[in-house]
């Protein structure tokens, strides 16, 4: 067990339930902690030698909420861990990592902008990358991708066609685009009426 993992385990010695998982995959150890113990865990890792803050970001786990993840390493890269926690989908908030790693400010700013996650204690969560006036959190999976709505799918044509067919033939649908995004919702003509009756 690496010194970093040992340090985190010591923090959670009295309340093991908050240490949700420690797993090593493909040479990377991920420590999953309760979101209330985020700062404790960061402090323990920094004290145990993981003084190099690599990055902090998040990803959307749909109904499970949002995962916030931080990659921390010893300065000589001899040891590194991913610290992970899960936040509720409605009003996701977590304590800032800037009290331990000042360099996290920029990453929290971006994560706030892209996912709408609040970092309590970071008072400078200003927009960073998106255009002025942009509303929405584009890295959430429920964010509608404008380029998929505005543009016609080039694959809708059949071999031998130059334009999309205007006939009522069932159209091909672009893979991976969620239902409801496309301009003409390509459900069978009767689907709407069936829904109305229900």
């Amino acid at each position: 067990m690496s010194a970093l993992v040992r340090a985190v385990r010591e923090v959670f010695a009295d309340d093991v339930d908050d240490l949700l998982d420690v797993a090593t995959d493909f040479g990377s150890t991920t420590i999953h902690v309760d979101s209330g113990r985020w700062t404790d865990s960061l402090e323990a890792l920094a004290a145990a030698g993981a003084t190099y803050f690599d990055f902090l970001t998040a990803y959307d786990e749909l109904e499970n909420g949002f995962c916030v993840i931080a990659h921390l390493s010893t300065p000589d890269a001899s040891d590194h861990v991913l610290l992970r926690t899960l936040l509720a989908r409605d009003l996701p908030a977590i304590a800032t990592a800037t009290s331990v790693y000042r360099g996290a400010a920029w990453h929290e700013r971006e994560t706030h902008e892209m996912f709408g996650i609040d970092f309590i204690g970071n008072d400078h969560l200003e927009p960073l990358l998106l255009p002025d006036g942009f509303s929405g959190t584009p890295l959430r999976k429920d964010f509608v991708l404008a380029s998929r709505v505005v543009k016609d799918w080039p694959g809708a044509k059949e071999p031998g066609e130059s334009q999309e067919p205007t006939t009522s033939r069932r159209r091909n649908l672009p893979p991976g685009v969620p239902q409801g995004w496309l301009r003409e919702e390509s459900t069978p003509p009767n689907a709407g009426s069936r829904h109305d009756k229900a």
């Binding site: 990377s28 080039p154 694959g155 044509k157 059949e158 071999p159 130059s162």
Partner: protein, 141 residues
């Protein structure tokens, strides 16, 4: 060495296996649309029409064939994943290591079929991966 405009006089030396641009072998394309449908970026445009080929033998049947009218890849959207190349059943697409096609306007990064066919002259080298150096002791982990 750089030119007065700041552009390096000589491009970087890259492996001949590099995925620089996608070349089109037009006569292999059957306009089957598979590449355009698989493209995750929607950056591949195909237009085609159907022509009838008269029967070549007495009593034979006329056949219809698809004729390509347009084949274009928008390299301002392309992320060089190579799925179109992988999915093509007729090897009508292949990599070329050329990468010297920057433009002043995004619109000019759409290569129509004549330009795509031009990249055929320099197919990317095939074969196993380049030998990897062992990871750097500092940045590797």
């Amino acid at each position: 060495m750089t030119r007065p405009d700041g552009v390096p006089a000589q491009g970087p030396v890259v492996s001949p296996r590099v995925h620089g641009v996608i070349a089109l072998v037009e006569e292999n394309c059957t306009s089957c649309m598979l590449c355009a449908r698989e493209c995750p970026d929607w950056c591949l445009y195909i237009e085609s029409h159907t022509e009838t080929v008269p029967a070549t033998t007495p009593g034979g049947r006329d056949r219809s064939t698809h004729v390509l009218d347009r084949f274009a890849i928008d390299f301002s959207l392309c992320m060089y994943c190579g799925i179109c190349i992988e999915v093509c059943p007729f090897d009508a697409l292949h990599w070329s290591p050329e990468s010297d096609y920057s433009e002043g306007s995004l619109l000019d990064l759409t290569h129509e079929r004549t330009r795509l066919s031009g990249w055929r002259a320099t197919p990317a080298a095939d074969g196993p991966s380049d030998v990897r150096e062992p990871p750097d002791p500092v940045s590797g982990s």
